[in-house]
């Protein structure tokens, strides 16, 4: 049976068919659906871990126990999990262990554009890269076999367009894998210097063994057509090249991106007149070619930035451009915005009004940085809001403590925010931290987390009590506010900023998109009362606009949250 599947869904199917038993991940676009989909198979235990490091350690533990195991993360998540990755490279596995990492060239939903292949090279771990949904499934299955064959974790590199494109996939049955019997093996799994020093040569030998395998592996393949142009590419870049050049070029499609083969690349380069390496982001294949004395085109032709496409390949290699029609006027941009009814809006309006320095974090609420609220000063990575605020306040002193806050979501706080809060309590700044508790992991599309009281399958689970947790960390002043009530929220922020002690404010209101959240009927503006003062526009609600000098509310978007009524001085909204 053939089914249209997202790359991520097909990947999950591959995990299922390969007999994967344990999956542990932290959500991150564009990797999230792999774990959501694999959780639908009862034969696979799947969970959301609090962060990627925990997830990878869970997967490694399951592998040591003899199970086929899996973890998924986005590219920046692999930075968080880099610590276990680099040593899992030394220990190797018992049951096959597969790691999915999803890169986001073009930064559709990310804070940077890093190329995960660097981690594979640095950790000396095998990495393979599929180019469509059918390959996602096949590569996931191959990854388990290769992991067990070479005694290594195997990373499968995904990218946005592969993860989030649907194409046809042939479904197969699951092949159940029994647990491999557990045997204590101190030399292999206790990585203290005396043991690790003996593992390292094995790591080097293994990468050479895999390189030899890569020379003949079916995952790497050559397609000869016209040999005037030769293209070396992996993953989605291969699809762009094939789309643009068709039979006008020959292709070396690399499925194994670490370690890279040498002989088949040399052979391909000899047979083709001009060879282009087409790779998104960094020049990893190109550098490998040059290191082996091969003269190829790469970043002299293509950019280090963003995504490639078939039109870029066509233009750069064939010099062809397409004809198209432009709209004759300037088209205003439409950046993402907080949804109508978003509980973060009221809080950010208060922060904007108070003019405080806002140390921001990763989530929907990063949109608090956009106009008209503009209430964010920094956003770096998961958890950096709290630790960054502590550093900011240590540098600028007591005055700064009265004029600065950190904002962080509930899921991000559990991921890596709470260690920063421990630091605030332990190393003493009178910092004010606001936890935006919308009862879900929002940006990645509503995943449960340790504060929500439900697990990945939606079953009841232990819920972290944020108030108790903050108290236990050593924060005495912990307040809870409802951000739909802006006057009260503003008053509490002012009080906590004034205190000579660290404090936490929990801004609590479930995400307006959650199915169980009951909405009020849309509000209406009484145009006889409206004076056109535009105060209501200051909250940046996408449902509110001004037409003919009067406020109007888009009834298809408004959920009746009512925070605009607090803005209206003449009582026109009701």
């Amino acid at each position: 049976m053939k089914k249209l599947m997202l790359g991520n869904e097909a990947f999950a199917r591959g995990l299922y068919e390969a007999g994967c038993k344990i999956a542990s991940s932290y959500p991150g676009t564009p990797s999230t659906e792999i774990t959501e989909e694999v959780a639908k198979y009862d034969e696979v235990y799947a969970e959301w871990a609090p962060n990627e490091k925990v997830a990878m350690e869970v997967a490694l533990g399951a592998s040591v126990a003899g199970a086929r195991s899996f973890c998924a993360m986005k590219h920046v998540g692999l930075n968080v999990a880099a610590d276990p990755l680099y040593t899992a490279g030394y220990t190797g596995v018992t049951g096959g262990m597969v790691i999915a990492v999803a890169d986001d060239p073009g930064m559709h939903s990310s804070q940077n554009e890093q190329d995960s292949r660097h981690h594979a090279i640095a950790s000396k771990v095998m990495m393979i890269e599929p180019s469509d949904s059918a390959e996602c499934k096949e590569f996931a299955k191959a990854a388990f076999d290769l992991s067990e064959q070479f005694d290594t974790p195997v990373i499968v590199r995904m990218s946005t367009r592969v993860a989030h494109s649907q194409s046809a996939v042939e479904l197969c049955d699951r092949v159940e894998k029994d647990l491999i019997p557990y045997e204590k093996n101190i030399q292999k799994f206790v990585m203290m210097p005396g043991n690790a020093i003996r593992r390292h040569p094995q790591v080097e030998q293994r990468i050479e063994d895999i390189r030899k395998y890569a020379e003949t592996s079916p995952l790497n393949r050559v397609e000869y057509n016209d040999t005037k142009i030769g293209v070396i590419a992996a993953g989605i870049s291969y699809q762009y090249a094939r789309d643009a050049l068709g039979s006008k070029a020959s292709y070396l499609k690399l499925g194994i991106v670490n370690p890279l083969p040498v002989e088949i690349i040399k052979d391909f380069c000899q047979k083709c007149e001009t060879v282009y390496v087409i790779e998104q982001l960094d020049d990893i294949i190109e550098t490998h070619c040059r290191k082996n004395g091969l003269n190829v085109h790469g970043k002299d032709t293509f950019s280090l930035l963003g995504e490639i496409s078939q039109s870029i390949v066509r233009e750069k290699i064939l010099g062809e451009t397409a004809e198209f029609t432009e709209f004759p006027e300037n088209v205003p941009v439409r950046p993402p915005v907080m949804c109508a009814g978003c509980p973060h809006r009221g809080l950010f309006y208060c922060l904007s009004k108070l003019g405080v320095m806002v140390s921001g974090d990763i989530g929907c609420y990063t949109l608090g940085a956009t106009a008209p609220l503009c209430a964010m000063d920094t956003t770096i990575c998961m958890g950096a809001s709290i630790s960054g605020l502590h550093g900011f306040n240590k540098a600028r002193g007591a005055e700064s403590e009265k004029k600065s806050v950190a904002v962080i979501g509930d899921s991000t706080f559990m991921h890596s925010g709470m260690t920063g809060l421990v630091n605030i309590a332990y190393n003493a700044t009178n910092s004010t931290v606001i936890i935006l508790d919308n009862s879900i992991t929002g940006m990645t599309g509503h995943q449960q987390n340790p504060t929500t009281g439900k697990n990945l399958k939606g079953d009841p689970a232990a819920a972290v009590n944020l108030v108790d947790l903050c108290h236990a960390i050593g924060i005495k002043s912990v307040r809870v506010v409802d951000p739909y009530h802006m006057a009260e929220t503003e008053a509490v922020i002012k009080e906590e900023l004034a205190k000579d002690e660290p404090s936490v404010i929990i801004s609590r209101r479930p995400c307006a998109l959650l199915k169980y959240v009951k909405h009020n009927p849309p509000l209406k503006c009484d145009h006889d009362k409206c004076v056109g003062c535009k105060q209501c526009l200051k909250i940046g609600c996408p449902a509110i606009s001004i037409h003919d000098k009067k406020m109007t509310i888009d009834h298809t978007q408004c959920v009746g949250c009512g925070i605009c009524t607090e803005m209206c001085k003449v009582g026109a909204i009701g």
Binding site: H108, S109, Y240, T325, P332
Partner: protein, 191 residues
């Protein structure tokens, strides 16, 4: 067969993912190779969103580039203007007449162009403009304007109506099926 391209454009939250799934299933059932490319994550939050559907004997790149789309289906007028350069010469633009102000317009930093549909037609483009929102509300919910537009588009493509009905049944949860079938029928009867 040469690869054909359909783009679905709109504002995050308007339901473009369901629309692309319906078309994708229609095409798969007709034996084509199909790729459907979606955008998830931050840009879904009220931003400009685009979904690509490509089909034919062989489909490589899942994305559509400028001058490549045979059909653009737009859920909103400004988005029709934004993505117009992606339409192939001689292609069809199906657009809802709905307007949603983007934040720069709400803030007064930019102006929403007037008579977008007229200006696109003046470029010699075949435009089918439908008040999909009103039709969706007639069917029972403003959220069904995506399926209304599927009804409109179904007339621009060569497949039997029953094929579309089957795809609807596959993609829409049972309890919303009747409502969506009504929305589809209203779209198909529009113009």
């Amino acid at each position: 067969m040469e690869t054909k391209s359909i783009m679905i454009v709109g504002v995050g939250g308007q339901g473009s993912l369901l629309a692309s799934r319906i078309i994708g299933n229609v095409l798969l059932s007709q034996g084509f190779e199909v790729k459907v490319s979606e955008v998830h994550g931050m840009s879904q939050r009220g931003g400009s969103v685009v979904t690509y559907v490509k089909y034919g004997d062989e489909v490589n790149s899942p994305v559509i580039v400028k001058g490549e789309a045979d059909i653009i289906i737009s859920f909103e007028q400004l988005e029709a203007a934004r993505w117009l350069p992606f339409l192939k010469k001689g292609g069809h633009l199906v657009t809802s007449t709905q307007k949603i102000d983007p934040m720069p317009v709400i803030n007064g930093a930019a102006v929403y162009p007037d008579d977008i549909i007229g200006k696109i037609k003046a470029q010699g483009v075949d435009v089918i403009a439908v008040d999909a929102l009103t039709l969706a509300e007639q069917a029972g919910t403003s959220k069904a304007s995506n399926v209304v537009l599927m009804g409109v588009v179904s007339k621009k493509m060569q497949f039997e109506e029953s094929v579309w009905q089957a795809a609807l049944e596959q993609c829409v949860p049972a309890k919303f099926l009747e409502l969506n079938k009504k929305a589809f029928a209203l779209g198909r009867a529009a113009e």
